[in-house]
């Protein structure tokens, strides 16, 4: 039969040589290989105690950012919701009242801000669309949940901790990414 390509290889079926038929050299060789593997670097890490560093471009859960004085950056302009291809973001805007200057950076803010993590495809377009550096994607991923409702993250779950009152958690939520990007 003519072959379609010239890549076909003829299989050579030689009878086994005496050494091969003895089988023992092959077993010893195999045992050498397994013994060598015993002392090799393990592929797994001790997960909860030890974590692999995230890549600088990792796109995890969203975080609503604050500035250094702890004021929310978001002005509820809606660009992120427009940019979102999965239509996962909804928000309601509200006007900043006198006396709330320490809470919101500009005159308009998001009274309600929800992201449906089941819809979200973690593309990062919201991050790119935001003109105020108010939303960015962190180095954590969505934990499991029992209900669909539990995956709709409201503002209190998205907001980064206040850097004035909770410095430690603020730094943690910020993550290593900016540092890594700077080092590059």
């Amino acid at each position: 039969m003519a072959t379609l390509t010239n890549r076909a290889k003829v299989l050579e079926q030689k009878p086994m040589s005496f050494m091969e038929r003895l089988y023992f050299p092959a077993i010893l060789k195999g045992m050498g290989i397994t013994l060598k593997h015993m002392f090799q670097k393990k592929a797994t890490i001790h997960y909860p105690e030890e974590k692999r560093p995230f890549s600088p471009v990792f796109r995890g859960l969203h975080v609503l950012n604050r500035d250094e004085e702890g004021r929310e950056n978001c002005t509820a302009c809606g660009l992120c919701a427009v940019a979102c291809p999965a239509e996962a973001i909804t928000m309601e805007a509200a006007e900043r009242l006198p006396g709330e200057e320490n809470l919101y950076r500009e005159e308009k803010y998001a009274a309600k801000y929800e992201i449906n993590m089941l819809r979200c495809i973690f593309c990062g377009l919201c991050e790119e669309a935001c003109p105020k550096d108010a939303i960015y994607m962190s180095e954590t991923f969505a934990p499991s949940n029992f209900t669909r409702k539990g995956f709709i993250y409201a503002k209190d779950e998205l907001l980064i901790p206040n850097p004035l009152t909770d410095k430690e958690n603020y730094e943690k939520a910020k993550g290593q990414r900016e540092q890594q990007l700077k080092n590059k």
Binding site: I33, L35, Q40, K42, A43, T44
Partner: protein, 351 residues
């Protein structure tokens, strides 16, 4: 009255020894399961159990407790008596062999000479053979009583495998017995202490014996009765809870005892290599030497346990025809040739 007193203390001494050896073998078997999982993991570039206790050392206890608390199911169509008898027999026969193994030289307790061997039978090896071949009854009865086709196939496989390999095993030992001239394991060890280990004189016999031991313990590459992927765990498929645990455990006890037998027959038993025990006993005392001797035996056993595990995670299972081919067409002729050559050499040296 005096006789009675001696017998009483002798009985007490043997009872303590039996209790000690049984609990020791169970403990070792427990940690062999741990070792097996750890070594398997390392050979596959993983880490193995490391959550229960430091380095996962409590893992065997957790496994055992889990098995105890599981629901015990006896299939309706099974033969109840035989179903319960199967795992019991497997475990009992696994433990029985330990009776004739000399675990160390004689020690002195309160001015009494205490032998670290439960029974110094003069037909020691024959006893080992008899008990080991009874081990297959556990598999056969369990497989038969389960009333399940897979279990039955496994039982038949196990029986035919053990019968086939017992022949080669016996033949390889005959050559050894020609050299030692004794069936008592204690005598064999003592001869090796003065005359060098039997592995030097019987390398081929050792190899055949080792392969047969692997087959008798149903360890990979001879684990056809279990054969997870063809027979769904074979003979213990219908078992649950601690009955399953006993089957699994008996395999590890078997491994431990078989390693002890191999170490005793071919690697000098409790002989400490390159050391004259009699000289050492004069400087540090009899009991210290006995402890060292036991440590020597135990490290030899540990090596063989490691070998069992090492081979298991290296070699795939034999096909059934390959198994029979190896047993009948390779090992038996080889063992016969080994026997003949040994006989000729022994005769020639004695002439």
């Amino acid at each position: 009255m005096e006789m009675l007193a001696i017998d009483l203390s002798l009985g007490l001494e043997k009872l303590l020894l039996i209790g000690g050896i049984i609990s020791f073998s169970l403990l070792v078997a427990m940690y062999t399961t741990y070792g097996e999982r750890k070594i398997a993991a390392w050979m596959q570039d993983r880490r193995g159990p490391n959550r229960a206790g430091p380095f996962g050392l409590l893992q065997p206890a957790a496994d055992g407790l889990k098995l105890f608390f599981k629901e015990e199911i006896i299939p309706l169509t099974s033969n109840r008596l035989l179903f319960v008898l199967g795992p019991a027999l497997a475990m009992i026969t696994a433990m029985l062999t330990s009776a004739v193994i000399p675990w160390g030289p004689t020690i002195e307790v309160l001015g009494r000479q205490v032998s670290l061997q439960i029974a110094d039978v003069n037909i020691g090896i024959l006893y080992v053979f008899g008990v080991v071949s009874m081990g297959v009854y556990g598999i056969m009865i369990g497989g038969w009583a389960s009333n399940n086709k897979f279990s039955l196939i496994a039982a038949v496989r196990g029986a035919s495998q053990i019968i086939s390999y017992e022949l080669a095993m016996g033949l390889s030992l005959i050559a050894l017995l020609m050299l030692t001239g004794s069936l008592s394991l204690k005598t064999i060890v003592e001869q090796q202490m003065s005359g060098g280990w039997n592995i030097i004189y019987q390398p081929l016999g050792f190899l055949i014996f080792l392969i047969c031991v692997f087959a008798e313990c149903n360890r990979t590459p001879f684990d056809l009765p279990e054969a997870e992927n063809e027979l769904n765990f074979g003979y213990h498929q219908e078992y649950s809870s601690m009955k399953l645990g006993l089957y699994l455990f008996a395999e590890y006890v078997n491994m431990f005892i078989s390693s002890a037998v191999v170490a005793t027959l071919f690697f000098g038993g409790y002989d400490i290599p390159f050391v004259n025990e009699a000289d050492l006993a004069q400087s540090i005392g009899v009991n210290a030497v006995a402890a060292l001797g036991f440590a020597a035996l135990f490290s030899k056993i540990l090596f063989f346990l490691f070998l069992f595990i090492w081979v298991r995670w290296t070699i795939p299972r034999f096909r059934y025809d390959q198994l029979m081919d190896l047993g009948w067409k390779k090992l038996i002729p080889l063992a016969l040739a080994n026997m003949l050559i040994t006989a000729v050499v022994v005769l020639w040296l004695n002439k």
